[in-house]
């Protein structure tokens, strides 16, 4: 039997079929969770953001435009949520309680999503890479995670991040130069 596409599931959900939403959740939640964990580097915050993402999908389902990809729409929502939280975090950073940051152990945890580990086949290097990734500016981190971890095309990423594919190529290039430098320094 042919699996329904995300768009077919979304149309069914918009028509009131909750089981279609459940199927969409099963299909997309792990990837979104991994993306958010990479962006915010905070387990509790990633969970809150995943919840905010799916609550937004439910409450603003009429804002999804027919013909556009559901996955890019969902990742746009997740990106907006993460950017908003990180912006507020920066603003209220002083005097706030320290959060439960991801540890290197969390980095090595078998992914409820995705990581660099399968590609690198070296858990230690993967963990170091993830730590270096966390030091990147958010805009570069978003681009690296979408392109190199989730393997999205620059065109798809442009829709999610609201910029041009050319700009994203530059962001990825700069991010990789920084990562290469960070890993090279560690090795030496």
């Amino acid at each position: 039997m042919v699996e329904p596409t995300d768009e077919e599931l979304m149309l069914r959900f918009c028509a009131g079929d909750t089981s279609a939403f459940e199927a969409l959740y099963t299909r997309r939640a792990a990837g979104l969770h991994a993306y958010l964990r990479h962006l915010v580097r905070d387990e509790a915050q990633a969970e809150d953001l995943l919840q905010a993402t799916f609550l937004s999908v439910v409450r603003a389902k009429d804002r999804w435009r027919r013909g556009s990809k559901v996955s890019t729409w969902m990742f746009s929502i997740a990106t907006n949520a993460a950017r908003d939280v990180l912006r507020r975090d920066r603003r209220w950073a002083e005097g706030s309680e320290p959060r439960q940051r991801l540890t290197s152990e969390d980095d090595r945890r078998p992914a409820e999503g995705l990581s660099f580990e399968p590609a690198l086949r070296d858990p230690k290097l993967a963990a170091r890479l993830e730590t270096a990734l966390a030091q990147l500016p958010l805009a570069q981190r978003e681009a690296v995670v979408l392109h190199h971890v989730l393997e999205w095309s620059f065109e798809e990423m442009a829709e999610v991040l609201g910029t041009s594919p050319g700009n994203l190529r530059v962001r990825c290039h700069r991010a990789f130069a920084t990562l290469r430098e960070a890993l090279g320094e560690e090795r030496s």
Binding site: T18, E22, A29, E47, L55, V58, K61, R65, S76
Partner: protein, 201 residues
Amino acid sequence: MTTLERVRARALEAAAEPPARPWRVDLFLAWSLTIGFSLAVGLVTGVLGAWSSGPLLVHASPVLLLLLAQLTGAYGAIAPAARRAQLASLVIAGAGMAALVSSRGAGMESASPEWLCSLSHLGLVAGPCAALLLLQRRAHLTVLRTLSAGVAAGSIGALAGELVCGRGSLHVALFHLPVWIAAAAFTALLGRVLRSATYAP
């Protein structure tokens, strides 16, 4: 219970709730608010005989640009993925401002203090600004989106000024336009502080 199971349970609960008001209804409300308010202001000031000499004929181009700024601004504020409309509203507002100043000559003298125009402008746009901000909270509030709302709401005051105030172009540039710009900027600033109800684009 894992993270994914916890979130799934909450999301399914929300999915079973009655659907939220469609964005098209919000857009209709936003258009009714901006265009309706402008028409009401025009009508009331017209009935009271407060129009400066034949404004609709003399000042047709700024009035049309202001109404267009309201239409595109409200659309950009409410509609999903409306970046083009948001940018267009800013361009149209800029053209409207230029038309407001250039269509005036030296103008007429008036006994009332000039700042009274700014104050009236501010009084007229405060309510619509707040209402548009509330209407757009079901979308992710970006600077462009809230700026669009500010442009749409601020143009109501500019339109009232165009109809009622007979002073010259320098007065318009110094006592009307800055209020419009400030209203748009303040709406955008409030949007940064407000939490949106969803993060949908």
